[in-house]
């Protein structure tokens, strides 16, 4: 159907012009260069000579035991540092050629950098670095983040900004603890938790959709409301008779036969409670259904271009309402991890800002279930390393390590990790 045979001024040299005019992107090479320099100047140069770093990889239940690995600290750090320098140089070369790097590059670079850091941090401490403990801790710390991030993905894909993830997690934790305690069954708590998150989601969407209140503001205020409510009830009812209202209940670990005995992976991934298995299922199902199902297509259309959705007969506000409430139930379920998931009683503000990190993970994961999962794992990992290193004593203050997720997120939203593109109609109330 294109216009009939016409000789047009075809832009033959257009691509050359683009190549010539496009500015060189110095951002990545410089970042890599700085990190490589740190690893050489700090990790390699400052690693005590003659000292060694030990990594433990095994647990007692594995099929076979991988012996602890001991490496000479300084030489290893040097090798890793030089490898990082080579990767940085490659990034520089590609940038000057105005060509892109493969996905492998940041992953390899990141892994080597973390390894170099660990070699340095563990050098000459006498203590081994228990890798399995680090990874198990990472997953445990990630669980509420992942649930929260999935909640964010579903809500924001349908166009509702959810700052109230924090409140949903906390509400879920509260209701799970109370329900489990009343019925003396952790599983009852698990069933109850989603309702708490859904209730917060319902409030969020009610104010956003019906009254067009700014969604970020509703979210912020709902967090305060949930903190106030749960703290108030904690200080009154729960504290008056904790044995009835706030007795500890724990979900049992359900090791999956065979899988749980695989070295490293097994104890980390397959010796978990049902809550963690549910999490695996939710991430996988969301990844498929958001992009391949009728529900997902409609949800995304509502978040991207609500008017277009309306003109094909999709009820925009109903779609948003349902999805935000559903999303809230996911976060509520995640909140159960704080209490029944870990066998703890409810405590005031026990979600401790995890909801905000979950929000960050969602953004870093670019509103994508699997992306958000990776980001949440990254955050859990950095916190876990921080925890482990602070027990064995390291040259790096634990506060600095705990800041890492937040700093990474700032870099991410500032565009250092590629263009982040939120759903177009996010936060905009749909009014005809």
């Amino acid at each position: 159907m294109s216009a009939e045979t016409q000789t047009t001024v075809e832009a033959a040299p257009r691509e050359q012009a683009e190549a010539r005019l496009r500015p060189i992107r110095w951002k990545f090479p410089i970042t890599y260069a700085i990190l490589a320099l740190i690893s050489l100047a700090v990790f390699a140069l400052l690693a005590p000579a003659e000292s060694q770093t030990q990594f433990r990889l095994a647990t007692s239940t594995d099929f076979f035991t991988i012996p602890a690995i001991t490496v000479p600290s300084a030489p290893t750090a040097w090798v890793l540092g030089l490898a990082l320098a080579v990767l940085a140089a490659l990034a520089l070369l590609r940038a000057v050629q105005r060509r892109r790097l493969g996905v492998w590059h940041p992953i390899v670079f990141g892994a080597l950098f973390v390894l170099a850091f660990l070699v340095w941090a563990g050098a000459g401490r006498g203590a081994v670095i228990p890798l399995v403990t680090v990874l198990t801790g990472a997953l445990a710390l990630s669980v509420p983040l992942i649930f929260g991030a999935m909640c964010g993905v579903v809500g924001e894909r349908s166009g509702i900004i959810n700052i109230a993830i924090e409140g949903q997690l906390l509400a879920g934790a509260f209701l799970a603890a109370v329900a489990a305690s009343l019925f003396t069954s952790a599983y009852v708590g698990l069933i109850a938790a989603p309702f708490a998150g859904a209730a917060v989601g319902a409030l969020l969407v009610w104010f956003s959709v019906k009254y067009h209140v700014n969604q970020i503001i509703v979210g912020v205020v709902l967090n305060v409301l949930v903190i106030g409510l749960t703290s108030f009830l904690y200080s009154t009812v729960l504290t008056q008779s904790p044995e009835i209202w706030n007795a500890r209940q724990q979900l049992p670990a359900l090791p999956i036969p065979i899988l749980s005995q695989i070295p490293i992976i097994g104890p980390v991934m397959f010796n978990q409670t049902i809550l963690v298995y549910l999490m695996y299922a939710i991430v996988i199902l969301l990844q498929i259904f958001v992009f391949k199902s009728r529900w997902g297509l409609r949800m995304r259309s509502v978040g991207e271009h609500p008017k277009a959705a309306d003109t094909v007969g999709i009820n925009v506000n109903r779609t948003r309402t349902i999805n935000t409430i559903f999303a809230g139930s996911i976060a509520g379920l995640g909140g159960a991890f704080f209490t029944v998931g870990q066998g703890l009683a409810f405590g005031q503000e026990m979600s401790a800002g995890q909801g905000f990190i979950a929000l960050a993970a969602m953004i870093l994961g670019r509103w994508n279930p699997v992306g958000a999962l990776c980001a949440a794992l990254l955050f859990g990992f950095s916190t876990s390393i921080g925890n482990v290193l602070s027990t064995i004593g390291t040259p790096v203050p634990s506060e600095m390590l705990l800041m890492i997720p937040y700093i990474i997120t700032i870099f991410a939203v500032a565009g250092f990790v590629g263009r982040v593109r939120p759903p177009a109609a996010e936060g905009v109330p749909y009014i005809k």
Partner: protein
């Protein structure tokens, strides 16, 4: 299918958008709904499409009364609509866009992409559309996006197709293709409602014409009616379709653009080695289909878009290092393309909008302290001079109609001592009265000796105002030609054909519209 409206009325508060509208569209008919901007055409179509519910009146399909609770019901009943602003999700593929709301699934709610894709290719093949079902909407040119919209409507077996200002974004030749498609659809028995405010199109395309003005049906016409008749019916009085103006007395080159290139955020060249100059006392019109770099050219001159290379100068002094404010202060008058997003701040008062680009200049401010009384007095004086219909200047500018808002913008820009005027789409969305006013104002400014550059996608406006015409295509200037260049030639140039070749092609290959024009001219003689 036959569509009838009886006494349809739609009110928004105290304002009546549609007043007792009667309309009937016969099966297999192309029925044009003609009316100027703001006459209530789109409201009426949104009622038919189920987006609004009328306050009074009936909609009948094949004699049966229907009531739609939403677009879904309308689609169900066989009505399809191609909106002026396409209802397509930019990040979706063509297939996803077409199936949205009517997804074929294969259990568990998972989409059957194969079936959906086949539906797209089937319809494309039937009408000879060249559309890749897996292409993303945001990567498609507007013409192709329009075809996706048509496929969308056809995939739901639309018996009545509403096209809302479908030619606004097309070149004359693309419009020709659209006319061909409409012919095919008509032959297949589809009724088409064609909404437009462009007089020449309706006569060439429509079987019957209904004219509405201020929400009321003011008459029916046939393709045999003359443009002048249609125009006076549409506007409600005799209108001169052209602005009277003296021949230009151009002076020296004032605004010079040399080898200007601009790259957008994603690294694409949007302006490619542009050179042009505007002389004192002339209007240079920049013509082209939307999205061919005109917006970026105007922005580069204003300074809101950085030049990758090249130079912009006014009266010999280089502007490359100046920021927006410095350019405005050195005498650039700028009327932005999109009034509501760039021209005015809706929540600000008329006074505040009047000083929007002078708020920190004397006499309106002294250092950081602004002088509200001085601002107000100036706003009162200038809005009066420009005949802005307002309550008080303290009201938000959003309480004004589009035409009056544009007058505020013009009053603001013209109240300064201009060295050059750049106006983009100065009359987009305005009613005929306002258009005449804006055109006169621009010509007055030209006659004062100010160099004027007008960017417009409307060929009517271009030929009306221009002393010279620069045609742009894909970020380049295809050619700069005289004001008397025929429309078909301009149309071909807007599709990238160089001026001379365009002239010979146009002579050999007349478009439907220009043939109709010639017939009309003969009739009038």
């Amino acid at each position: 299918m036959k569509l009838e409206l009886k006494g349809v009325t739609k009110r928004f508060g105290t304002f009546t958008a549609n007043d007792q509208i009667d309309l009937s569209v016969e099966p297999g008919e192309i029925h044009a709904l003609l009316g100027e901007n703001g006459a209530g055409k789109s409201t009426l179509m949104n009622i038919i499409y189920g987006l609004y519910h009328p306050n009074e009146g009936q909609i009948l399909l094949d004699g049966r009364e229907v009531s739609f609770d939403g677009p879904g019901d309308a689609v169900e009943a066989g009505i399809g609509m191609v909106h002026q602003h396409f209802m397509l999700v930019p990040v979706f593929t063509v297939t996803e866009s077409v199936m949205l709301g009517y997804e074929p699934t294969k259990g568990a709610g998972l989409i059957d992409f194969a079936t959906a894709g086949k539906r797209v290719t089937d319809i494309s093949a039937r009408f000879g559309f060249d559309v890749d079902p897996d292409a993303y909407i945001e990567h498609l040119p507007v013409g192709a996006q329009q075809r996706v919209e048509i496929i969308k409507a056809l995939s739901r077996d639309a018996k009545i197709l509403i096209l809302d200002e479908p030619t606004a974004v097309l070149t004359p030749q693309e419009t020709d293709e659209l006319i061909t498609i409409m012919g095919q659809l008509k032959a297949a028995g589809t009724s088409i409602v064609f909404i437009t405010h462009k007089l020449r199109e309706v006569r060439a395309i429509a079987d019957r014409i209904t004219v509405i003005r201020r929400g009321r049906v003011v008459g029916e016409a046939t393709a045999a009616s003359t443009e002048t008749e249609l125009a006076s019916l549409m506007v409600g009085r005799e209108v001169s379709l052209t602005t009277d103006k003296e021949d230009a007395a151009p002076g020296d080159d004032a605004l010079q653009v040399q080898n200007l290139s601009v790259i957008d955020a994603s690294g694409h060249v949007v302006l490619d080695d542009i050179s042009l100059s505007v002389r004192r006392g002339e209007v240079l019109a920049v013509a082209g289909v939307d999205g061919n770099g005109q917006t970026e050219l105007a922005q580069a001159i204003l300074g809101t878009r950085a030049a990758a290379s090249g130079r912009i100068a006014l009266d010999g002094s280089d502007w490359s290092k100046l920021n927006v404010k410095e350019r405005l202060n050195s005498g650039l008058g700028f009327v932005p393309e999109d009034r509501s997003t760039d021209g005015v701040i809706a929540g600000f008062s008329i006074t505040e909008n009047f000083v929007l680009d002078m708020y920190d200049q004397p006499p309106y401010a002294n250092g950081m302290a602004m002088k509200p009384s001085v601002m107000r007095a100036a706003a009162v004086e200038q809005t009066d001079r420009f005949d802005v219909r307002l309550g008080t200047v303290d009201d938000p500018v959003s309480t004004l109609s589009g035409g009056n808002q544009q007058k505020v913008v013009l009053a603001r820009e013209m109240s300064r001592d201009l060295k050059v005027l750049v106006a983009s789409q100065p009359t987009r969305g305005l009613d005929v009265g306002s258009i005449e006013f804006v055109h006169r104002t621009i010509i007055e400014e030209r006659d004062k000796g100010t160099p004027c550059m007008i960017v417009s996608t409307e060929l009517d406006e271009v030929s009306n105002l221009a002393d010279r015409i620069a045609v742009m295509y894909r970020g380049r200037i295809v050619g700069i030609v005289g004001a008397d260049t025929p429309r078909d030639v301009l149309g071909l140039m807007m599709a990238g054909v160089p001026a001379e070749e365009a002239a010979s092609q146009a002579a050999a290959h007349k478009t439907t519209l220009s043939e109709a024009d010639e017939v009309a001219e003969e009739e009038e003689l």
